[in-house]
């Protein structure tokens, strides 16, 4: 595991995060997805320990919980970097040059799609559609969508995120 992100959020361990999430959603119909989203919002990822605890608390099998965690792209099995850059790779942004933009982003950050920088500052990924299809190519930096992106405005977006300090790049974009 590379990166500086701690195994759990500030002051909150896996056990507490799971208990909080379960308490918040205990009365929901079909609570598993909600619980997992809450756990990830708190911890930044879903550690294996959380899978076990969630299964226990909701009286489900670990296989059920593991199956859900692995089905959805948003759930992470490793801690996030401080900042996250996602480049929209769906058709409308392809028509505005997102394939080239991916190359630019890769060179800027020095990593490929789905990778983190060795110092754990940045991770780069693709996303299929941010709903900004008339103003592409689009990116998402720490959860905020940016449109009409050029190589220069990509740099600005990265610099802005850096100067804003800790990112909001964790979780499911919520």
């Amino acid at each position: 595991m590379t990166g500086v992100a701690p195994a759990a959020g500030p002051g909150l361990g896996v056990l507490e995060a799971v208990d909080l999430a379960v308490a918040a959603h205990r009365d929901d119909e079909g609570p598993l997805l909600e619980v997992l989203l809450s756990v990830q919002a708190e911890l930044g990822w879903v550690p294996p320990e959380a899978t076990r605890l969630v299964a226990e608390r909701l009286n489900l099998s670990r296989a059920d919980v593991h199956g859900v965690v692995t089905f959805y792209a948003d759930f992470r099995d490793s801690p996030p970097a401080v900042h996250r850059l996602r480049v929209c790779c769906a058709e409308a942004c392809q028509a505005r040059g997102s394939r080239d933009l991916v190359h630019v982003a890769e060179r800027r950050l020095g990593v490929g799609l789905g990778e983190q920088t060795p110092d754990g500052r940045w991770e780069l990924d693709k996303v299929f559609c941010l709903g900004n299809c008339a103003l592409g190519p689009s990116i998402e930096v720490d959860g905020a969508t940016r449109g009409r992106i050029t190589a220069a405005s990509l740099d600005t977006a990265i610099a802005r995120a850096e100067s804003a300090g800790t990112g909001a790049g964790t979780g499911a974009g919520t």
């Binding site: 909600e34 759930f75 058709e91 392809q94 394939r99 060179r107 299929f128 008339a134």
Partner: protein, 547 residues
């Protein structure tokens, strides 16, 4: 007198600096200015964003696109009086783009403060709900049947049939579920409505609940739309506080609870049965039909599942009656459709108009051709599963049946334009790649077929037994169409086959190495350039990275 300024809070507007513009405006005017700054949704003229409006005696005057650097000059030039400036567009309602539309579903988007119930009432909100609550549920269903409204999510299934089925079903609990998992590229109308006029959706769901006898509602929203989630959450809270949700809605016997549920990054959850599984907290695998969700839906109960735009069309139908709504449109495509112009277009955005407008009118007249001035080469309509149409095939009326006859689909009304640098073999490959990545895995033709599809297209591009592989690809497409359980695998061949049919020359070029998936072309390239390079150094031509 207080001057009212409007700056959109819509994600698209914010993506190009609307927040910075609003902030600068406030700073520039100072704390003592007698100005009210309202953050609205977007008018849908997205190429003009950030679009700043000021209320004047002659109506709301627009300025755009406004950058932060323009703000001081605008204020000096007399923005508050609606005075002249190079960015001044004139009264927004009189702009040809706005005047030419028939905004029914989007009537309030960009106009009102999305989170002001007072604004909502002032602009005709809740009239439909009051009228519906005074009618019997069966009569409300009758209005929807008469309206001819069809599902706006893509399939175009007659809404009235669903409503009647759920209405007639017997169950202690019934659900109304709104599908806001707007994953198709080129579509953003759901998002804009949620961010710009969320009460319309809530009102539509309330009318539906009354009509079919539902007490519980869910909105299933994709995680890529955090701003929409925030707006919806607040709108739902406001609705509860004001007696619109919960016990005895507006003093009637209707009880309706509405919950917002977030997805977790799965395109397939836009398929209705997959969405139901996801709402139940399961893997978003699709369910075989029958049983239909109208009878055995969420948690096994009768469930009215609709796309967000379908439900948001309901308040208007409830106000004026189904007959008035059916006056719009052509053939069996009644009412209006919210078209979304996207991709490489000079003027992208929302065009709500009656069915029957041609694709050429949308692309050339409304969209103004490509943004970079190159010729239009291909247009994909209806999302990643929709057909690619050639530039000489755009004289097609936007009508479910006309599109079906042409081997295409209207879908959710998204129109994505490509210029002449597009390589259609690469786009065909992407269709298969996307299916492979997003398939739920339940059925073999989709799960395995899409992977084989990528490989076969790679061989075609590389000119390995090209003619034979084109036959294999067509065969594979047939299997996927006939053998897949849902539209994901069943429709992925549509973009692939339409690309081959209309752009066969792209599949006949000298053999090349298969196009890389997104990202790095090769490893040597990758490690040669570990350190960030200066801006502009790696700008490539539009096609270099793809072929």
């Amino acid at each position: 007198m207080t001057v009212t300024l409007f700056v959109p809070r819509d994600t698209s507007a914010r993506s190009v600096g609307a927040d910075d513009v609003a902030e600068r405006l406030a700073a520039c005017l100072g704390p003592d200015a007698d100005v009210r700054l309202v953050r609205t949704g977007s008018r849908g003229m997205l190429w003009l964003e950030p679009l700043v409006e000021v209320a004047t005696p002659d109506g709301r005057v627009g300025y755009g696109p406004v950058t932060v650097d323009d703000v001081d000059g605008l204020v000096d030039a007399g923005l508050l009086e609606g005075d002249d400036h190079p960015l001044r567009l004139g009264p927004v309602e009189d702009l040809p783009w706005m005047r030419g539309q028939q905004r029914l579903t989007f009537a309030r988007v960009g106009v009102v403060d999305p989170l002001s119930l007072e604004d909502y009432r002032t602009h005709g909100g809740l009239v439909g709900l009051r009228r519906a609550l005074a009618m019997t549920p069966s009569d409300v269903v009758g209005e929807v049947e008469e309206s001819g409204l069809r599902g706006r999510g893509g399939a175009g299934f007659p809404a009235g049939i669903k409503w009647r089925t759920v209405h007639d079903a017997t169950s202690a609990t019934k659900y109304v579920v709104c599908n806001a998992d707007e994953g198709d590229s080129g579509t953003f109308a759901d998002r804009m409505l949620m961010e710009g006029d969320p009460f319309t959706l809530i009102e539509g769901m309330l009318v539906a609940a009354h009509a079919v006898g539902a007490t519980q509602g869910y909105i299933y929203l994709r995680s890529e739309y955090p701003a929409a989630a925030e707006t919806l959450r607040t709108a739902i809270d406001i609705a509860y506080v004001n007696g619109l949700l919960g016990e005895s809605v507006l003093g009637s016997d209707l009880r309706f609870d509405l919950h917002l549920r977030m997805g977790a990054g799965a395109y397939i959850c836009g398929e209705e049965t997959s969405m139901l599984n996801s709402l139940e907290g399961r893997r978003g695998e699709i369910r075989a039909k029958p049983p239909i969700p109208a009878l055995v839906g969420l948690f096994g109960r009768p469930t009215l599942v609709h796309n967000l735009l379908t439900l948001a069309s309901i308040p208007m139908i409830a106000v004026d009656g189904g007959h008035a709504y059916a006056e719009h449109g052509v053939g069996r495509s009644r009412g209006t459709q919210v078209f979304q112009l996207a991709g490489n277009l000079a003027r992208g955005g929302i065009v709500e108009t009656a069915f029957g407008i041609t694709l050429r009118e949308l692309v050339e007249e409304w969209g103004g051709g490509t943004a970079n001035g190159r010729p239009v080469r291909a247009v994909q309509v209806g999302g990643p599963l929709g057909a690619y149409l050639p530039a000489d095939g755009l004289d097609l009326p936007m009508d479910y049946e006309a599109f079906a006859e042409a081997g295409a689909m209207v879908g959710h009304g998204g129109v994505v334009v490509f210029d002449d640098t597009v390589d259609m073999a690469v786009q065909a490959r992407f269709a298969m790649e996307f299916c492979a990545e997003e398939s739920c895995g339940k059925c073999t033709p989709c799960r395995i077929g899409s992977r084989r599809g990528v490989e076969v297209i790679d061989r075609i591009i590389a000119d390995q037994d090209r003619d034979l592989n084109l036959v294999v690809l067509d065969d594979l497409c047939e299997v996927m169409v006939d053998g897949s359980l849902c539209a994901m695998g069943g429709l992925t061949p549509m973009p692939v086959r339409s690309a081959i049919r209309h752009f066969s020359e792209d599949f006949r070029r000298p053999g090349t190495t298969p196009a890389p998936a997104f990202g790095r072309a090769d490893e040597s390239d990758r490690h040669a350039d570990r350190h960030p390079a200066p801006a502009g150094a790696m700008t490539r031509s539009a096609t270099e990275g793809t072929q």
